[in-house]
Symmetry: C2
Subunit: 76 residues, 2 copies
């Protein structure tokens, strides 16, 4: 499987947002919806800073509004 | 290796932009720089529509200006 881990970079530090990310979709309101292979879903108000697929990393950096909601969905 | 293929969606059709993409970075001027594991680099003036990492797919959709430059770089 080729999922990646999503990190939020804030003040130069990386914080893990979600592991095993499969789907990344931009939202009309800004930010991104991340969904992992277990069905967990995170809305992150951030912009993509860099993706390193071979290293399985997606790096986000903060936008002005930093409200990240985590929604756990049961796997199907 | 967990690289992905980048596609541009235009008029409902997918066109392959670059295979074996490793690095994706947004550009200040808009659009994205894609670099694959062979060192080939593409600048794409498009926005991310969806990423499906398990399926190894990154889908871009067009912005107003559709100028995509391909720069081949020797692998290092």
């Amino acid at each position: 499987m080729c999922e990646a881990s999503a990190y939020l970079i804030k003040d130069g530090k990386e914080t893990l947002v979600l592991e095993s990310v499969d789907i990344v979709e931009p939202l009309d309101a800004g930010g991104f919806m991340l969904r992992n292979i277990f069905g967990d879903q995170v809305i992150i108000n951030a912009r993509i800073q860099k993706m390193e697929l071979v290293n399985h990393r997606i790096l986000f950096s903060e936008t002005e509004t930093d409200t990240t909601d985590i929604v756990n969905r049961s796997s199907t």
